[in-house]
C-alpha cells in the first residue's frame, strides 16, 4: 500500500500542536520582510502520528532482524543508551552554558576521552568529529599540519589500499592530497614491495583499515607501519573495523599515529537510518597538539573533598574547529554508557564473539560460495556472489532474494577488488539460531540459483516495494513533492 506524502494528507485549516496566545504587547512584524505564503502541511496530530507510524512499518531494522552488513557493524542498540541520553540533565543543557553549570557533561566527555585513549592505545582524543568520514578529514588535516609545521611541504601524497572505503580517497583529495592507490597481494595483505616503492620524500602518509575491508588482519602490519615511519610518513587508521579488536589489540600499540573510531559501529550507538554517527579521533603523543579545538581537560585537579574542575583546553597547534560546539554529545552519552557497562573485562568478549560468529559463518558457507582469500577472517568476510554454473546470477540477485527470507542483504559490490562481492559481518549480538537460519537461507538461494534463477532475478517478492527503477530516478529527477 503506497502511503501518501504528508502534503497529500494535508487539508486546509487542520491544526496540529497548538501554542498559547502571546502574553506580551503585540508589535508589528517588519512589513518589508513579512512572509506571504507558508506552504507547510496541515494535519491533525493523530493523522501525523499515523502517517509516520505507517512509514516506520515499511522499514527493516536491527530491532526486527539480522543485518549482516559488512563494515557497518549492525549490532544491537541497547535501550538503556536511549533512556540515559534523554535525561533532562543532558538533553536540556545548552552548549554555551558556563562550565561550572555543566560539570557533569564535561566529566562524561573527559572520561570518555580517557577511555577511548585506553582502548585504542592513544595519547590524545578529540570527540568533536561528527562521523567516520569527518574523523578521517580531521586526521588528514592533522597529517597535513604536522608536516607543514616541520617545513616538510613536499609531502603531497597519501597511499590508500585498493580495498579501502570510498571516504578514504575522497577525504584525502578534499584536503588537497594526491591519492596513490596501493595494491593488495594474493593473501589480501598490503603489497609490501609496492609499498616500499612508493615510500619516498613525497609521502605524507598511509591510510590503512585493519582488519581490512576483506575482514583480514594484515599479516605484515607491523612491517607496513615501520616502512612508512622510516620514510617519514604517518599512518592513519580507519577504525571502522575496530569491533574485531576491542580489548584484543590496541591500534596505538602497533604504531598507528591517528585513528578515527565509529561510535555508531563499534560502540553500539544507533544508525538512525543514516546517522547521526560520531567519529572521535585518537592520536599518538607527537600529534596531541594538533587535535581539533577545544578538547575537554581538567582545569583544576581534585582534592579529597572536591572533585576536579573540568573545562576546555586549546591544543597548541590545533587544526582548528571541525564542527560547531562539542561534537555529537548525545551520541557520546550512549557510547559512555556502553563502555561503562562492559568495563575492563567485558570489551574483549565483544571482539571474541564477533570474530567467532564470522568464522562460524565462513566455515558453513565456504563450500557453497567462493571465498577469494582462504584465510582466517576476523569479524567479517567477503565471498563472491556468482557461480560459473549459474550464468546470469549476480551478487545483487542473491542480495535481493535474501530479503524474501527476512534478512537484510550483506554489503554488496564492495570492496571493489572482489567481483560480485558480498561482505558479511554478523556482529557479536547474534545467536547461533540466527546464524544457522542465515546459512540455511544462503544455501537455499545457492540451490535456487541453479534450479530456478528467475526467483532470484525477480526478487524481492514480499517486500513493500519490488526492485526500483534507479535509472529512471536519475533521469527523471523528482527530488521533492510538487511545489505548493
Amino acid at each position: 500500500m503506497t502511503e501518501p506524502t504528508i502534503f497529500e494528507l494535508s487539508s486546509a485549516g487542520r491544526q496540529g500542536v497548538r501554542f498559547p496566545a502571546s502574553d506580551v504587547p503585540e508589535v508589528a512584524l517588519p512589513s518589508a520582510f513579512r512572509r506571504k505564503e507558508l506552504p507547510l502541511p496541515e494535519l491533525a496530530e493523530n493523522e501525523t502520528v499515523r502517517h509516520f507510524t505507517r512509514l516506520s512499518q515499511k522499514n527493516y531494522a536491527i530491532d526486527l532482524g539480522f543485518y549482516p552488513l559488512g563494515s557497518c557493524t549492525m549490532k544491537y542498540n541497547p535501550k538503556i543508551n536511549e533512556a540515559v541520553s534523554r535525561l533532562p540533565g543532558f538533553a536540556l543543557t545548552h552548549p554555551l552554558q558556563p562550565e561550572d553549570t555543566v560539570q557533569g557533561n564535561l566529566y562524561l566527555m573527559y572520561t570518555l576521552q580517557e577511555w577511548l585513549k585506553e582502548i585504542g592505545g592513544f595519547a590524545g582524543v578529540s570527540l568533536q568529529p561528527a562521523a567516520g568520514a569527518h574523523g578521517e578529514l580531521t586526521g588528514v588535516l592533522i597529517i597535513q599540519k604536522y608536516h607543514a609545521h616541520r617545513g616538510d611541504t613536499q609531502r603531497t601524497r597519501i597511499l590508500i589500499p585498493d580495498s579501502a572505503h570510498g571516504t578514504n580517497p575522497a577525504t584525502s583529495a578534499m584536503s588537497g592530497f594526491e591519492v596513490v592507490p596501493l595494491p593488495s597481494d594474493a593473501r589480501g595483505n598490503v603489497d609490501l614491495e609496492a609499498l616500499k616503492g612508493l615510500c619516498d620524500e613525497r609521502l605524507a602518509g598511509l591510510m590503512l583499515t585493519n582488519p581490512n575491508t576483506l575482514g583480514l588482519f594484515d599479516e605484515n602490519v607491523s612491517k607496513v607501519i615501520e616502512i612508512v615511519h622510516a620514510a617519514g610518513g604517518l599512518v592513519y587508521g580507519d577504525g571502522a573495523n575496530l569491533n574485531a579488536l576491542l580489548g584484543v589489540l590496541r591500534p596505538g600499540d602497533l604504531g598507528f599515529d591517528i585513528m578515527h573510531l565509529n561510535l555508531h559501529k563499534t560502540f553500539s550507538t544507533p544508525h538512525g537510518g543514516g546517522g547521526p554517527g560520531s567519529g572521535p579521533v585518537g592520536v599518538c603523543q607527537r600529534l596531541v597538539d594538533y587535535l581539533p579545538d577545544p578538547v575537554v581537560a581538567i582545569i583544576e585537579p581534585g582534592t579529597d573533598e572536591m572533585p576536579p574542575l573540568y573545562g576546555y583546553a586549546h591544543p597548541a597547534r590545533s587544526i582548528g574547529r571541525v564542527k560547531s560546539y562539542n561534537g555529537h554529545f548525545g551520541i557520546l552519552v550512549r557510547a559512555y554508557t556502553y563502555i561503562a557497562m562492559h568495563g575492563k573485562n567485558g570489551l574483549a568478549d565483544i571482539a571474541e564473539k564477533a570474530v567467532l560468529n564470522a568464522n562460524y559463518l565462513l566455515a558453513k558457507l565456504k563450500d557453497s560460495y567462493h571465498l577469494p582469500y582462504d584465510r582466517r577472517c576476523m569479524h567479517e568476510f567477503v565471498v563472491e556472489g556468482q557461480w560459473a554454473d549459474a550464468p546470469g546470477i549476480r551478487a545483487i540477485d542473491i542480495a535481493k532474494r535474501l530479503i524474501d527470507y527476512n534478512f537484510h542483504p550483506p554489503t554488496n559490490y564492495f570492496p571493489l577488488i572482489v567481483h560480485e562481492a558480498l561482505m558479511i559481518e554478523p556482529t557479536e549480538t547474534e545467536s547461533l539460531e540466527t546464524l544457522d537460519a542465515f546459512v540455511d537461507a544462503m544455501l537455499k538461494i545457492a540451490a535456487e540459483a541453479r534450479e530456478n534463477p528467475q526467483l532470484l532475478h525477480e526478487a524481492p517478492h514480499n517486500s513493500p516495494v519490488g526492485r526500483c527503477d534507479e535509472v529512471r530516478a536519475a533521469k527523471q529527477l523528482i527530488l521533492r513533492a510538487p511545489k505548493a
Binding site: H94, V248, P276, K323, G466
Partner: protein, 451 residues
C-alpha cells in the same frame, strides 16, 4: 552484556570452525600486544549504569532549572511529545542507511518529505538529506562554489555577522588549499547592516559571498542589493538561516540566494549540549549536480508502484572516490526525521505561531531591558527576529555571574568573539519564555546593576 552465546553454543561453533579455543582466532595478532590489560572500571549491570548516568546528569544545571536566554546558534524550543515517541520506533532509529530501497521505504519517504519541507521553508528548488550541522554546511557551501566555478575563482567573502563558529569551521576545512582566500569578516569591514564594505570587495575572482539571516546578532537585513552585486560579478551567494525565523519572514530563496543552509536544531531537536544537530542545505536547480550529501528521488518499482530511492549517487564518495567533491557518508538521518515530524506536527499554523511568539517575546524583552538605566539596545535601527544585543554598564562576565544567583543564564558574552562589542550581551527569547520570566530577568538586571 549483549552476546547471547551459551558455553554449548561456543563449543558447537568451535567444532565447526575446527579450533580448540576462542583465543586461537586471534593468532595473527602480534603476541606481545594481544589481550592487553585495559585500565577501565569494572563492568556494571544496566541498573547500576542507569544510576551512574543519573548522578552525572544531576551534576549539571539545565534549562529545566535555569531560566536561559542563551542562543547564539542553538535554541531552547518546545518539542511536542509525539516527536520523540515516533523517533524511538525501532524501525526508524535502528535502521541502516536506505541502500536497499525495497525494505527502506519508511526512511526514504521521510527523507523525501524532509527535502520537500526544506525547499518550501527556504524557497529553494532542491535540498539534500542533511549535513552534520550549520557550521559544516557552511564549509560545504564554500566547497560547492569552488567546484562549480571549476577552481577558477578563489576568493570567498564571508560577512563578520555570520556565526563565528561557522567561519572557524570554513577556515579549518580550507586550510590545506594553497589558493583559497577567505576574507570579509575582519573588524575593518565591520558589522554595518548596509553590507557596503563587504559588497565593495566583490570582484571577478569572487566565487561566493556568504551572509546570515537573521544574522548572528538577530538582525534581519535585506540582502537583495548584495545578491544583485554578487550575481553581476558572477559570484554565488549562500545565506545561512535560522529555520524558525522562516515561519514569518521572507525566505532567502525569494531574495535570489543560490545556496541556503543552516542549523536545523530549532526544529524539534533537543539542545543536548551541542549535538547531534542538523545541517540544512538547499540550492537552486542550476547547482543541483554539485550538491553533496544524499538525495532521495521518486521513481517506480518493477510493478509500477510509486517508490523512493537514493539517487544521483554517482556524485558521492562510494562511487566517485577521490573525484568526489565531498567525503560525506553518514549524515544526520534521524535528526532530519525529527525535523520532518516537528514541522508536520506543528503544521502551517503551529509553526507560524511559534515563530511569531519568538518575535513578540523578544521584542518585549528588548524594550524592557533597554529601558533600564544604563542599558541600551545595539543595532536598534535594524529589524530583528528573536535575538538582540544589549549594551550593559557592567562587564558582562560579572553581570552573568551575578545573574546566576537568580538562576538565570543571561545570554552570550559577545566580547569573546567581537572586541568591538565588548560589554555587550546577545539575548535570545523563544516561545518557552513567559512574560513573567522576562519581567523576572528585567528585575534581576535592575537589582544586580544598581547594587
Amino acid at each position: 552484556m549483549f552476546t547471547p552465546h551459551t558455553p554449548k553454543d561456543v563449543e558447537v561453533m568451535l567444532n565447526t570452525i575446527g579450533i580448540g579455543k576462542v583465543e586461537d582466532l586471534f593468532a595473527e595478532i602480534p603476541e606481545k600486544y594481544r589481550f592487553p590489560e585495559l585500565k577501565l572500571p569494572p563492568s556494571l549491570t544496566e541498573m547500576e549504569v542507569a544510576e551512574e548516568l543519573e548522578s552525572i546528569a544531576n551534576a549539571n544545571g539545565s534549562t529545566k532549572s535555569l531560566l536561559s536566554f542563551l542562543g547564539a546558534g542553538a535554541y531552547d524550543h518546545y518539542i511536542p511529545a509525539a516527536v520523540d515517541m515516533l523517533l524511538q520506533r525501532g524501525e526508524f532509529y535502528t535502521a541502516y542507511t536506505p541502500y536497499q530501497p525495497e525494505i527502506s521505504q519508511g526512511t526514504l519517504q521521510a527523507i523525501f518529505e524532509y527535502q520537500s519541507l526544506v525547499c518550501e521553508l527556504t524557497g529553494m528548488d532542491v535540498a539534500n538529506a542533511s549535513h552534520y550541522d550549520g557550521a559544516t554546511a557552511a564549509a560545504e557551501a564554500v566547497i560547492l562554489a569552488y567546484h562549480h566555478l571549476k577552481g577558477k575563482r578563489t576568493k570567498f567573502l564571508i560577512s563578520r555577522a555570520v556565526n563565528p563558529q561557522y567561519r572557524e569551521v570554513v577556515r579549518t576545512y580550507t586550510q590545506g588549499s594553497q589558493d583559497i582566500i577567505i576574507q570579509g569578516d575582519d573588524p575593518e569591514t565591520g558589522l554595518d547592516a548596509s553590507m557596503d564594505k563587504l559588497i565593495a570587495q566583490i570582484d571577478s575572482n569572487t566565487a561566493l559571498v556568504m551572509v546570515q539571516y537573521p544574522d548572528f546578532f538577530g538582525r534581519v537585513i535585506d540582502y537583495k542589493p548584495l545578491i544583485a552585486a554578487a550575481h553581476s560579478a558572477g559570484a554565488l551567494v549562500a545565506v545561512a538561516v535560522n529555520p524558525t525565523a522562516l515561519g514569518v519572514l521572507t525566505p532567502p530563496g525569494e531574495m535570489g540566494a543560490d545556496i541556503v543552509f543552516g542549523e536545523g536544531q530549532p526544529l524539534g531537536i533537543p539542545l543536548s549540549f551541542g549535538g547531534p544537530y542538523l545541517g540544512i542545505f538547499a540550492v537552486t536547480n542550476d547547482l543541483l549536480r554539485k550538491i553533496s550529501g544524499r538525495l532521495v528521488g521518486e521513481t517506480v518499482d518493477n510493478a509500477g508502484r510509486l517508490a523512493y530511492v537514493l539517487t544521483l549517487t554517482a556524485r558521492e564518495q562510494h562511487i566517485r572516490r577521490e573525484k568526489a567533491s565531498s567525503n560525506i557518508c553518514t549524515n544526520q538521518g534521524l535528526m532530519a526525521l525529527a525535523s520532518t515530524i516537528y514541522l508536520s506536527l506543528l503544521g502551517k499554523q503551529g509553526f507560524e505561531a511559534v515563530s511569531n511568539l519568538c518575535y513578540q517575546k523578544a521584542h518585549y524583552a528588548a524594550s524592557q531591558i533597554s529601558s533600564i538605566q544604563g542599558y541600551s539596545q545595539v543595532f536598534s535601527d535594524q529589524p530583528f527576529f528573536h535575538e538582540f544585543v544589549i549594551r550593559s554598564p557592567q562587564p558582562i562576565d560579572h553581570l552573568l555571574d551575578d545573574l546566576r544567583a537568580y538562576d538565570i543564564l543571561g545570554g552570550y558574552n559577545l566580547g569573546q568573539d567581537y572586541p568591538e562589542l565588548e560589554g555587550c550581551l546577545l539575548i535570545a527569547v523563544t516561545e518557552k519564555i513567559s512574560k513573567e520570566d522576562i519581567d523576572l530577568f528585567h528585575d534581576a538586571l535592575v537589582e544586580v546593576t544598581h547594587d
